[in-house]
């Protein structure tokens, strides 16, 4: 059972870490984009 739970947990850790990096990257780029747009105006 330990190996089963470890595999399921590892899967979700990998996905959540990646999803976190995607979302933080998106937030950072969105901020840059809004700033550039504001400058343009």
């Amino acid at each position: 059972m330990t190996f089963l739970y470890a595999a399921y947990a590892a899967t979700w850790v990998i996905h959540i870490v990646y999803l976190g990096t995607v979302l933080s990257r998106y937030t950072k780029v969105r901020k840059e984009f809004d700033e550039l747009k504001r400058k343009k105006i």
């Binding site: 059972m1 190996f3 089963l4 470890a6 595999a7 399921y8 590892a10 899967t11 990998i14 996905h15 990646y18 999803l19 995607v22 979302l23 990257r25 998106y26 780029v29 969105r30 840059e32 984009f33 550039l36 400058k39 343009k40």
Partner: protein, 229 residues
């Protein structure tokens, strides 16, 4: 689209929870391996999803070489990145399943080795995308992606044509599977496909926005008045 995304995210979360429940509770226990065989419901769908993403990367790369459309380049990049994540899951869950069943974490047989090589090829693809500053990077990456894709059928068919420690394929191969297990397997695959589509979508939006920002920054640099010398 802004309203659709959260709804799809919630539906995917529900589907993933249902699929996990099916995998851990509803699916029958395998006679020889016992409960550890339930890793199968994460391991196999992750592998199929990774293969599909690498196939998307291959198609987008081939078309990119002919049309040079930046959107196709972004699709190729994102599919490779999400594919590597799913392939990482395969390479982590595999040894966690192998240890209690085979008594070893890893063996250098054709299936496992070719999967590791596949992962390394796409990691090097991502490294090339990340660190190369050449204007030809998308073309070089597209060429590398075509070579990388050649490893996908090798991974898939390796257990058909070579003697290997890895079990036979459950669909279309020499292996067989209980219909209830197959049902749970397909539910999990559907759930992971929906999840992969959502991640792909988010990452694609971030990538396109990043490119737009870079374009705006270079335009701004061009228009900025030069300082007095």
């Amino acid at each position: 689209m802004k309203r659709v995304f959260p709804i799809l995210a919630i539906l995917t979360a529900v589907l993933l929870s249902y699929a996990m429940y099916q995998g851990l509770v509803v699916a029958p226990t395998e006679k020889t391996m016992g409960d550890v065989q339930r890793i199968f419901y994460y391991h196999v769908p992750s592998a199929w999803t990774a293969f599909l993403l690498f196939a998307i990367n291959f198609v987008a790369s081939v078309i990119y070489l002919f049309r040079r459309n930046p959107k196709l380049d972004a699709v190729a990049l994102v599919s490779a990145e999400v594919g590597v994540v799913f392939c990482t899951v395969v390479l982590v869950t595999g040894p966690l399943w192998a240890r209690p069943v085979w008594g070893i974490w890893w063996t250098w047989d054709i299936r496992l080795t070719s999967t590791l090589v596949l992962w390394l090829i796409y990691v090097s693809y991502l490294m090339l995308r990340r660190f190369s500053t050449s204007g030809q990077t998308p073309v070089l990456a597209a060429a590398l992606a075509i070579f990388g894709a050649l490893d996908v059928p090798l991974v898939y068919f390796s257990i058909w044509y070579f003697r290997t420690q890895h079990p036979q394929p459950v669909i279309g191969g020499g292996g067989s599977i209980d219909p209830r297990m197959l049902h749970v397997l397909l539910i999990n695959w559907l759930a992971f496909m929906c999840f992969a589509a959502l991640v792909f979508w988010s990452r694609y939006r971030a990538e396109m926005l990043q490119r737009e920002v870079e374009e705006m920054q270079s335009l701004e640099a061009l228009l900025e008045p030069r300082g007095a010398l």
